[in-house]
Symmetry: D3
Subunit: 220 residues, 6 copies
């Protein structure tokens, strides 16, 4: 399942990150995937304090957003990374790695997210294309918006043909790794949030009984 | 989980089965479990047409009861059996067999049920005791009532010390063999039955989405 | 996962079904879902021999198509149904039922399919919209093409605003009910089909070892 | 499954906790579940050193009890809490939360336990009622005894109608979260403990083979 | 897991099948796997009544053997096939097909078996080699013996370098498809068979409780 | 599955450990399994710095070996232990413990390994026998070699009848605890390593899609 959330970053945060992007040192994006010749992009150098500041702003925004938390059931999150796609840059079709070597214990990437910094009017190409068999979802979000999608999908960033595409990318380990289970539990909790208070209290308890036990069963 | 349903058999059906019990040929209940020395009871001879009639009445009652169907998710049911516990008879602690050799394909017993024919005022002892670790549920139902319980439990029929205990026993293979999953799905469908029509139609669809997919996932 | 297959029906088959649609008796589509007020469509009367002929043509086409078989791992298929959406007709957002009452044993619907008879140029609206959280796949296939999608999704047929939309709908029980597992196995078998003969024979055997064991593990 | 263990707390420990209850600062029990209007009880203030002492005594008793360890397969335990139910107090039907926000990683509550401090002769009402569908287990333990039950159940504390009910409540994450698997493994290990040494050594090894592999399979 | 059973076929049955092998019509073994160039063997023509007689003898022997039934938990069995490996014949490394197209519903092959007809002194080569990573089990059974092994393994028949190797091969669908689960349940039932009667009756019931519930859980 | 890896320890490392074995303090091997009367062996005293040095050499060798890493998917490893079997010593049939009490969180032993220090020509008996039902794998490795096998198996060290058997034993928790799943993923990654670069890039991506998602699904 997919969710686009508008204004996950406030306008000032988008501007701050865009400003950082003008000053930060960028390095070859292949640094993190040296063998992937289809990855032609630049990422902010993690050693540059400006890069770290952009990541911190994005991380805080991701953590404070209630809709994102409800949808993702986050357990751990990798430090988000600022990426730049200039003209001709792209990231060919790929699956995100199952595990990222972070800290003491590798982080399993269950949900990936892209935070859009550039305005889609300011660049051509650069769509995030998610392949679902013969069908394709094509996403180009507004500045400050974020899209969350299963790390399990094959997806690409199409070549940028004009302008510049700035995004921040994140990888999240979920308490509920199976995407169908995660979506069913998210949906049931949304139903409770919207309808629960109108229900007879006995039915509220019964619904709570189902939700807490699905959460126990499916968390890993 | 456990459910007692009153009046699963109509008064006339209870009387008809009690009348059959006075005439039918009973045989040693160990016929179906020859090695179980703790089983001291009698069952109506399956070859006696009277026995078959009692079974048919019980089967029809089990199949027409909506609450039972909702709780059990029945796929197949063994032919119910009329059993008689006279004074001193009992069925020691045991687990119901996992599979019964019925027809072409063995029937997995997921849910067991007891239909009470005798009035509990007319016999002493004879409780259906279901052991849950250090705790015990002790059940002695009204004539015409039925209790459904997981075949997975250890349970006994306590010795009858006076009067006569007539019951019909049944074994059911469920579409949802795991008892926790079966109970969660039953509960969620009860919530829908009681609250669904009051909900915004979008939330009804979302709840339906969860229910149909849990049913797909959990049926075996 | 989703797959669109062109020319699943031959041109003559499309014409034959379109001709049947002009003569067959149509009945209210709600006959199969009486409580669904959002279903406003017509289905060919299953008692009309012409209806049965259309279903047979579609069934044969579905069964002979190798790509469909590889993608779906079909075990059983419900008889396909010819449906007609005139102006104003629609089928609101819904999930397909988990089980259809067919024959001795209910059929679990794992994969749904729509075979397109009408030319999309001949009607407006009538898109098959599949909801994936905040994103939507919108499909309007060429005559003779088919789309296969998980029965687990919420989807709708948008209102037809001009012309007529004729489709045949089908529900399939898969040997591999979990859609992620089904897609991984389909993908791995496609890789073998395309690359297997070029491999060292030892690696072919190893790949076969993985495929046969995944198929054993995941079939239900 | 359920287990009641007598004398989990020694007589002096019960007395020490009862003495603490006379002096410690109690706060509204809803502090930990602010939205639960059916929770009308008091808990010892976690910031009061006396409260911490009571918790420590209970924790040590829980950790040293072999029968409890065998039954629960504990991995982590939340700090136990002293609770007081005066006249009119109660805790309406509820399910325990799936996760408690403790330390770096939330604690999944698989097994709940109640340690009884007050003598049941000294208060009326206040039963711990555990609902199992239409049946109810009703528990009112002796001072120093403890009852362990799956956190997955709906349960309540009935209103106290006279006297005072003092208990300590605990939540435990088990190595074997599924309650049926946990009970099967517990039972098989009990059989080994009681019968193993009488067995032929080859059969001891075979039984050990089953036990260690079930433990590997089912631990999460 | 692996089991060799001696004298699964009686001496007269071995002789009868050997006699049939002298008269029956053999056809290219690739008939059942046309694309497998590493399969160089002959199988008795299923249309020849003599072939059917050999299969019937083997089938009856497999069905009556209690040790085999206990080990395999058979649900369905494909008709066994008489195969002949003359000098130079072999069956290269392969995995048995996951499903065999038999009757209305494909048969999943969980357990494979080889019944040995020829005396190992009468042929050289022709070992059944089962590959377990870097290790190999090499089996050449006595006349009338049978070996049962998981269909999941990669295995081969080594080239026969002198004499003739006659075997009967069978494929069995098990009630417990997972080989580890099947072996644990087999082992636990063996322990009960050897030690159960010596146990306290309460422990017998507890052991039975574990066994029946594992069987319910793991059967598919 | 099983894998023997030659030269996991370099010649000098083998010599260094053999030298340590001549000087280190050995203690009764039952120290770690006090109740196991069939364990008659000696282990290097973990408190002796020489013992620790031998363990460190072995640990480093295990961690640097790529083939071992690919096969085992290691998450954590217990400190390896130097063991000595003199004449008459042995370790009777047993299963390795499911969990070892190491650090804050018990280590689940999924894969066991034996590193051979002594030359098999220098001792008689002392085979590592792994029992697979009626079949046995019997392993006696070259100096510096290692064998990895599932901790789930019953195995023994046969009595040493002459000479001395020095080995280092290790227990590893795997990211993929189920041995069948671990082997399928290992095999598929081997196929990719050997054939991937020859494939069409689209098929490489598809294969990667399968591998990363199996790894997500199966890791625990």
């Amino acid at each position: 399942m997919f969710i686009q959330i508008d204004n996950l970053l406030a306008v000032e945060e988008v501007q701050a990150i865009a400003e950082i992007a003008r000053q930060v040192r960028f390095v070859d994006g292949r640094r993190s995937n040296p063998h992937n010749t289809s990855k032609v992009t630049e990422i902010a150098d993690a050693d540059d304090p400006l890069s770290q500041k952009a990541s911190q702003v994005a991380l805080a925004a991701l953590q404070r957003n209630e809709q994102a938390r409800n949808f993702v059931f986050p357990r751990r999150m990798a430090m988000p990374t600022l990426a730049r796609y200039g003209v001709g840059m792209k990231y060919g079709a790929h699956t995100d790695a199952a595990f990222l070597p972070i800290g003491m214990q590798p982080l399993r990437s269950d949900v990936s997210c892209t935070l859009f910094i550039s305005d889609p009017k300011d660049y051509e190409g650069g769509e995030l294309n998610i392949f679902l068999g013969s069908e394709t979802l094509s996403i180009k979000g507004k500045p400050g918006s974020a899209v969350f999608y299963p790390s399990t999908t094959v997806h690409e960033v199409a070549p940028v043909t004009s302008g510049e595409r700035l995004v921040i990318i994140g990888f999240i380990e979920s308490q509920i790794p199976d995407q169908m289970q995660r979506d069913l539990l998210y949906t049931l909790r949304e139903v409770r949030a919207l309808e629960g208070l109108k229900m007879d209290w006995r039915n509220q308890i019964q619904l709570e009984y189902v939700i807490t036990n699905l959460q126990r069963m499916w968390s890993k």
